[in-house]
Point group: none
Chain length 215, copies 4
DNA sequence: CATGAATGAGCATTCATTCAT
DNA sequence: CATGAATGAATGCTCATTCAT
């Protein structure tokens, strides 16, 4: 396992065109998009820099005008997903007049919808974390811990308000809810008979019930 | 294209010492064990045959006395896990006097316990399926579909008996239950404060509630 | 079986600088030339890709910029020889006012001269045919059959015109003539006392006499 | 190309059961026979010791009870062929009342018949000479030079007696005659329509005519 | 920006050979 | 004699990365 002393090509953090904001699509964006397509197909380890270059219609050597290492591509994908996922958490936090369970349901729905709409990114995000090395890996783990805490707090809140069964440990339950959200990337097939909304609803209901108080 | 024209190493299928049966540990078993250790650490793609050989304390070339391809190691791991997992399903099926939800709870508990006890194998089993090629891949996918069907049938049964909420599609719910079971391999850390039994109980309760009829 | 799924290096067939046409020598040509030198020394099977790279003064890995497989080198050599040999046949066919035996003599002379001038290529061409696999092998065999037929027809023609002994089967005699032509690569040593022209003359006379009507 | 300092396993030269002499078939003979079968199929370089062991129905390691190196197998094959070929020359020399051309014809016939009857050995003998290393290689080359001289002398004799065209150099003509004899191993297919005798006759006639005086 | 030749380290796999049992 | 596990060197091939043009 190589060690990599993250000395980014650009001191300033890259700002990717994310989500819906329409901007003139930069070449950097296309590069990440190509990497997403390729890595989601074969996995980061099995994918080659050549594959990404092919997807872009340029030569392997030319790709190195945009990246310094193959891992850069992975890092940028993670950054992009993180930006999107953070935004979801912000939106859920900003919504007013919700009790904890309603907030959890909203979170699950939104996150599942995002996952189903960005299956490729999310596959990489959850499948290839361990391909990140050194500092990069630590950073992502730290961020995920934050997400975990966000959900754990909501669950604890729900429990204390009697809206959720208090016999389960909030950490364990949070993991179960995350399982419900995340695992979708492994089984959902677009155009396979289930609409995204239906899946999001079912997952939200399942998770909600899962932690529900069984009065 | 000449590759792989018979002269197989052993026509008869290998029988691995699986589960609890204590037998004189064969070298083949040690090989698989080493592969499990190595692959679970770095992933199949990133792991090298050299790594496995090192783990065994032999040379890379010597390992080829036991295998024909690196993929063989993966296949054998899958076979072993499959044997174990099939057995769980058999046991759950053979248990008498259970209503569908009780049976689901038993299945979740048993399977989660197995996963937590064999985190390494299970990581590989769920992480590196796509590294299998051709016929092997198809076979595993087919077997998993059987497992999916086993659970789907139980859920449908529970719904028709009023033991589960009928508003969710059994297929989607089965995926959610599997998520709960499987995802444990990604977050559970042995010795991290939660006992296996506690986790199994929580997961089973979560899954049960998840599909339960709530009123 | 995944091997070789397209993404070929170059869809268009390579055109090698063959025979006398003097052109700016392309790197591809140098690669083939190096392969010829190496393979003719030790035989295709015993030669290593490393050897060819050494001959070129580059690293083994660099050679793979030009080839996809070691076999490619062999194929290109065969293509080159075939182009040359076909041309000889064309020239012999195009020559006017020759009776069959004169045409045979011309063919033997030309072909022997070519062989002696390109001993290295021809050694490979006749020694390592069986190293070609699959379709490639079939193609070469088919082409050789054409050459065989060309000569057989000439012999038959000569026999029917009373210019050759009719008691010998044309196929067998063609093989004997080919033996005379081809085997030169095994015994001729440049600078060994015999000039190419002298050898060509002797071979032509030997072959001609060999099939000639003796009375 | 490795260098091998021939320290034979047995100081005394091995005596193989050759030709028709019926003796209790020793295990050594079987080993050589197996090697002949295998090497003639795939060539010495491409054949593996394992292949030979398989052919014998024993394990690779066991084969090393009979040989010291893979090359031993090749050497023994060469020894066997040489014994046979020498015998042919002895017989031709011993035949009385023959003029030089008759003697040449007899030699060609006998040798071609031998080749066609032992295609496998002969293929190896003529194809894999260069796989022999060091002293062994030199010895074989020396022996072949003797054979060449035997034929050259006959041709010179015939020329001086006016039985052959004197315009061709005896050395070159000898090579042409050898070509006719040897090349059969490359084109003759048993059961392919031509009987061995017919081929031998044609070759002898071709060679005879080839050197004949064209008065 | 892009090209494409070159690097060099690494990888899966093969195989002749050895040797304790 | 035979086995089969082990060796160790080599081989074909891949690929991330560099760089002169």
């Amino acid at each position: 396992v190589p060690t990599r002393t993250g000395r980014g090509k650009d001191a300033t953090a890259r700002k990717f065109t994310t989500g819906d904001r329409r901007q003139p699509r930069s070449r950097d964006d296309e590069v990440v998009e190509a990497a997403i397509k390729v890595f989601s197909r074969s996995g980061y380890a099995a994918a080659t820099v050549q594959d990404v270059a092919n997807e872009l219609g340029i030569l392997k050597g030319s790709l190195y005008h945009y990246i310094e290492t193959k891992e850069d591509l992975l890092v940028w994908i993670f950054e992009q997903v993180h930006a999107d996922v953070d935004e979801i958490i912000q939106e859920v936090s900003a919504t007013e007049d919700l009790d904890p369970t309603e907030r959890i349901a909203l979170y699950v729905r939104k996150q599942v919808l995002y996952n189903l709409t960005h299956l490729d990114r999310i596959s990489i995000y959850h499948h290839d974390l361990d391909a990140l090395t050194g500092e990069r890996h630590k950073q992502v783990v730290a961020l995920r811990r934050q997400h975990h805490r966000f959900l754990t707090d909501l669950i604890r809140d729900a429990q204390s308000k009697g809206l959720a069964d208090s016999s389960g440990d909030p950490h364990l339950l949070a993991n179960c809810v995350f399982a419900t959200i995340i695992w979708t990337y492994r089984w959902y097939r677009p155009g396979g008979g289930f609409g995204r909304e239906a899946v999001a609803d079912t997952c939200a209901a399942f998770a909600l019930n899962g932690i529900a108080s069984t009065r």
